[in-house]
């Protein structure tokens, strides 16, 4: 069996539906350059052998990614990533912005901040720079 480049991790108690978690994990891997154009996603069968997820759930996630133009299903071959979502700024462990963030997190830890402190700070500053969209009800 082929080992896929991506292994899904499903948190059943997160309140986020499983197919959305799969979509998000593929997108995230694409943004970090871990998945790029031409890479094959694991087949529904491979996913089911690795984690307890219904194959239909996997296929639903792949359809969603296909609709977004991120992957394409090739008959008999599998589902492939069609484009890259990463840039020099996000790819690799030594991307400059990543290094800066790592430095910042290192200092936060030295100061004794816990993960909740870090999240609170990050989201507060993030919202200043990237205003959240209007609340949808």
């Amino acid at each position: 069996m082929l080992t896929g480049v991506i292994e899904f991790r499903i948190d059943r108690r997160s309140g986020v539906s499983t197919y959305v978690q799969i979509v998000q994990q593929v997108e995230q891997a694409m943004r970090l350059g871990l998945l790029t154009a031409g890479d094959r996603l694991p087949s529904a069968r491979e996913v089911v052998e690795a984690i307890a997820v219904n194959p239909n759930t996997v296929l639903k996630a792949y359809r969603e990614l296909e609709r977004a133009g991120l992957v394409e299903a090739r008959r008999g071959l599998g589902t492939f990533v069609t484009r890259s979502l990463s840039s020099e700024a996000t790819t690799g462990g030594d991307a400059p912005l990543r290094r800066e963030l790592a430095g910042w997190l290192g200092r936060a830890r030295e100061r004794g901040l816990v993960v909740e402190d870090v999240d609170a700070l990050y989201f507060a500053v993030r919202d200043e720079h990237y205003p959240p969209p209007e609340e949808r009800s």
Partner: protein, 249 residues
């Protein structure tokens, strides 16, 4: 496995206004639903919602007070399970003094459609020694043997009453994985009940939510959660709605 039988073509379950009353009151009222083929169905609801009663009606162990139910087109006779149905009760009744081999022999003797090779394959896959006494096995291993016993019958519909209740998280994942793989391979329908919906998130593709003996929600998960709501949230929302309606009435 090439000895596989074709799964039955009729609808696994059709319930038409079915109700069940015990001396203490109604356990299930006016329930109408269809369980389609080749689904992993989560039968969920709080304790006392009517899950076990519905399963009992499908097996024929219980008789409906009102309405009717058909299983693969037939009415349950009450004289034993439908040949296409396997049922695993919550306590997973196995004889602790029996070895795994003896347990499978029992399955062979009581099921005309028994597939010994397939049952042994499932036990071996679980790495359970055939010579081990059932009483010495872990909860996860016991469940795998019970599953082999149920699947060895080659059913088209497998009923599992709270199969995960006594398992640790790791064993739960393994059991679910086996179940999903076999269901897919054999093209069978699995109906499993749980009072913890979250543990079936991403596992089932059809949902039946019971509460107070009534169906609050039934359908394919794809349709029910079109906007990506988790199953737990979906059920919670529906139960709140129902509670609000009750209060208003």
């Amino acid at each position: 496995m090439n000895s596989r039988r074709q799964p039955h073509q009729a609808l696994p379950v059709i319930a038409d206004g079915v109700g069940k009353r015990y001396r203490r009151g109604w356990a299930l009222r006016e329930t109408s639903l269809v369980i389609p083929q080749r689904r992993i169905v989560a039968l969920v609801g709080p304790n006392g919602a009517g899950k076990s009663t519905l399963m009992g009606l499908i097996t024929g162990l219980l008789r409906p007070t009102t309405g009717g139910i058909t299983v693969f087109g037939d009415r349950p006779t009450g004289k034993g399970l439908h040949p296409e149905v396997a049922y695993l009760a919550q306590q997973k009744p196995l004889y602790p003094q029996f070895t795994v081999t003896e347990t499978l022999m029992l399955g062979a003797r009581t099921n005309p459609t028994w597939d010994q090779g397939y049952a042994e394959h499932l036990v071996e896959q679980a790495a359970v020694p055939l010579s081990a006494k059932v009483g010495t096995l872990s909860g996860g291993q016991r469940t795998r043997v019970a599953l082999a016993l149920a699947l060895g019958k080659r059913p088209s519909l497998l009923l599992l009453d709270e199969p995960l209740a006594d398992l640790d998280p790791l064993a739960r994942e393994t059991v679910l994985r086996t179940l999903l793989a076999e269901a897919r391979e054999q093209g069978i329908t699995v109906l499993l009940s749980s009072h913890v919906l979250a543990e079936l998130e991403g596992v089932c593709d059809h949902l039946v939510l019971l509460h107070g003996g009534r169906v609050l929600l039934a359908g394919d998960v794809d349709q029910l959660s079109a906007r990506g709501t988790s199953l737990g949230q979906l059920a919670l929302n529906r139960m709140r709605e129902a509670a609000a309606q009750e209060e208003a009435a």
